[in-house]
């Protein structure tokens, strides 16, 4: 059997040549059938895990508090669990968060395609970040026909991992970093930061920007947003200038987590090596490691059961603490609403209450919108939630002071006021 194995190739022998930024993954697949075949499997996964997994359940139905927390902005209409990379294009096109009225000033810009398609590297090369931002989403649609694909992560020919999103390149530069000097192990994390990061659309041209100028910790992004005076929307009735955090997986993970500290990369857990006969390759069937912990964790942890038990405990503790924070923010919202409706309220104190509300919700969202329910960095997640709860309670107290009305200090208002909570 030793002699009857095919001779091992020591390097990849390309069968066909791939053009730079080729959006069609099936062409790359000719050279790399294993990676391509595993990649296609992201279409078929539909298995839920306790808090994540690949079925696109609605977060708003699972936890109706979030409907209240996002009142007045698109996430209160439609917010589903993420699923495999092959679904990205479908999902962005069908979400009710889009505004497809071209004449409306709030129309959805082309920027929303940034992280959903292998056509983007080509489009960025052609139009730049600014051009994409200025184009209406609907106008870009005909030019976008592939979901996420090889071109989002690889350079053809060498198959090196590369930064393909210009917004990431700029954000790294703003911190004085050049990804071209990164090691291969670093790239196994940074390549995910093309997309799994907090972002906002800067200015009229809806320029895709990562708020990392001061750093990627939650305090640093908060400071950045405060300094530029950015808001995603105004919370109705409370009139708080709000921020929405989105999938800060990269930021949370790299904020000194145990695994990051120890040199572990995203791909180590989410793209473990798998064997096909005697050959090994990186699984491109990216999903929750809880669906195959033996493979994802077992390469480093011999007692897989023990670490899975830990994941469960960490997530449960994070989830419970997160819900307590949500309850506190909802109490604050109700108090601020009442205070804002009261013409006698002290304007300065009310403004303080709003600022506390804004910060509490951004801190909470940094944990809530992050997709690992705390696992990527458990201590950091819990520390942030402790701060967010403290801020939310202080927001409520300031509102009561502003209105000089202790009856605004009701707690547990979410439970008292029926299912809508309002």
């Amino acid at each position: 059997f030793v002699n009857n194995q095919p001779v091992q190739q020591r390097a990849i022998q390309p069968l066909t040549e791939i053009a730079a930024m080729e959006p069609n993954s099936s062409k790359w697949g000719v050279n790399f059938p294993n990676q391509y075949a595993s990649f296609l499997k992201t279409r078929d996964n539909n298995i839920a895990t306790t808090y994540g997994g690949s079925n696109d359940f609605s977060h708003l139905e699972k936890d109706p508090r979030q409907k209240i927390l996002f009142t007045g902005m698109p996430f209160s209409k439609d917010y589903n669990e993420d699923r495999g990379h092959e679904w990205a294009l479908t999902d962005v096109q069908k979400t009710k968060r889009l505004n497809l009225d071209k004449e409306n000033p709030k129309r959805t810009p082309g920027t929303c395609y940034s992280c959903k398609s292998a056509n983007m590297p080509g489009l960025w090369a052609e139009m730049g970040l600014e051009g994409v931002g200025k184009t209406f989403f609907g106008d870009l649609t005909p030019r976008v026909n592939s979901s996420i694909g090889c071109a989002n992560c690889h350079e053809p020919g060498t198959m090196r991992l590369i930064v393909t999103n210009p917004a990431l390149e700029e954000a790294l530069q703003a911190q004085g970093k050049d990804w071209k000097t990164f090691t291969r192990q670093e790239m196994r994390t940074v390549v995910c930061a093309n997309c799994h990061v907090e972002y906002y659309f800067a200015g009229e041209s809806k320029y895709l920007t990562f708020p990392w100028e001061k750093g990627t910790k939650v305090e640093e992004m908060w400071e950045y947003y405060t300094e530029i005076g950015f808001k995603d929307w105004e919370y109705p009735d409370t009139k708080t200038p709000m921020l929405k955090a989105q999938h800060p997986e990269y930021e949370m993970y790299t904020a000194g987590s145990t695994h990051y500290n120890a040199g572990v990369a995203c791909a180590d857990c989410h793209m473990p090596y798998v064997r096909e006969g005697a050959a090994k390759y990186s699984s491109h069937n990216i999903h929750s490691p809880m669906l195959n912990p033996e493979r994802s964790c077992g390469q480093c942890h011999t007692d897989t059961e023990a670490v899975v038990r830990r994941v469960n405990l960490i997530q449960e503790q994070t989830y419970k603490t997160k819900i307590a924070t949500e309850d506190a923010i909802i109490d604050a919202i109700n108090a601020i609403k009442a205070a804002a409706a009261n013409p006698k309220s002290d304007a300065a104190l009310l403004e303080e209450a709003r600022l506390l509300h804004r910060q509490a919700q951004f801190y909470w969202d940094y944990v809530s919108a992050e997709n690992s329910m705390g696992f990527h960095n458990p201590e950091y997640a819990l520390k942030i939630l402790a701060e967010a709860t403290n801020l939310a309670r202080q927001a409520q107290m300031k509102a009561a002071q502003a209105a000089n009305d202790p009856s605004l200090l009701q707690t547990g208002t979410y439970y008292q006021s029926g299912p809508s909570g309002q």
Binding site: T158, R160, Q185, A265, R275, A278, K280
Partner: protein, 163 residues
């Protein structure tokens, strides 16, 4: 006919074994070279990690993985695991993640103690027995740093040289 049967059977067995020995490079398997274990690509990780671990200078795979109490149990176990491994490998049933069995762990533990008796006597040879494996603490002695990415050690066949 029945008179010839045992002789024929023996002849056939010798032939079969010879053929088996030829196609499987079995002579190598009677020895103790770690490269032999690594013949199976599925043993690559263990080989690589043993190669980079502190015991490389002083041990071969079999020093830990085969019993050393006497020559019979040494070869009996060698044959048993050898056939098991070959069978599993040849029939394509190799598990994704290979794990030492409890049986194997017992053998390894005895070997640690065999070489390090003088060091550990005070702490393991007490009246109340020892209920842990040495490598619960010495996580890197045999197969290198546990918990660190194994991947950089494995990339040569997967990835073109990366500048």
């Amino acid at each position: 006919m029945t008179r010839f049967f045992p002789a024929l059977a023996i002849l056939f067995a010798v032939f079969a074994l010879g053929l088996f020995a030829y196609v499987t490079d079995a002579v190598a398997f009677a020895g103790s070279s770690p490269e032999t274990c690594a013949n199976c690509h599925v043993m690559d990780d263990m080989y690589e990690n043993w190669f980079h671990a502190p015991h490389k200078n002083v041990t071969e795979c079999v020093d830990c993985h085969l019993p050393h109490d006497n020559v019979f149990s040494y070869y009996a176990e060698k044959a048993r695991t050898g056939f098991h491994d070959v069978y599993v490998f040849s029939t394509g049933q190799t598990p994704e993640i290979i794990r030492a069995t409890e049986h194997t762990k017992g053998i390894i533990q005895a070997n640690c103690v065999r070489c390090h008796q003088s060091t550990v006597d005070v702490v393991v040879s007490s009246s109340h027995g020892n209920d842990r494996y040495c490598w619960e603490c010495h996580r890197n002695v045999s197969h290198g740093p546990r918990g660190l990415s194994l991947l950089p050690l494995q990339d040569s066949q997967l990835y073109p040289v990366h500048k």
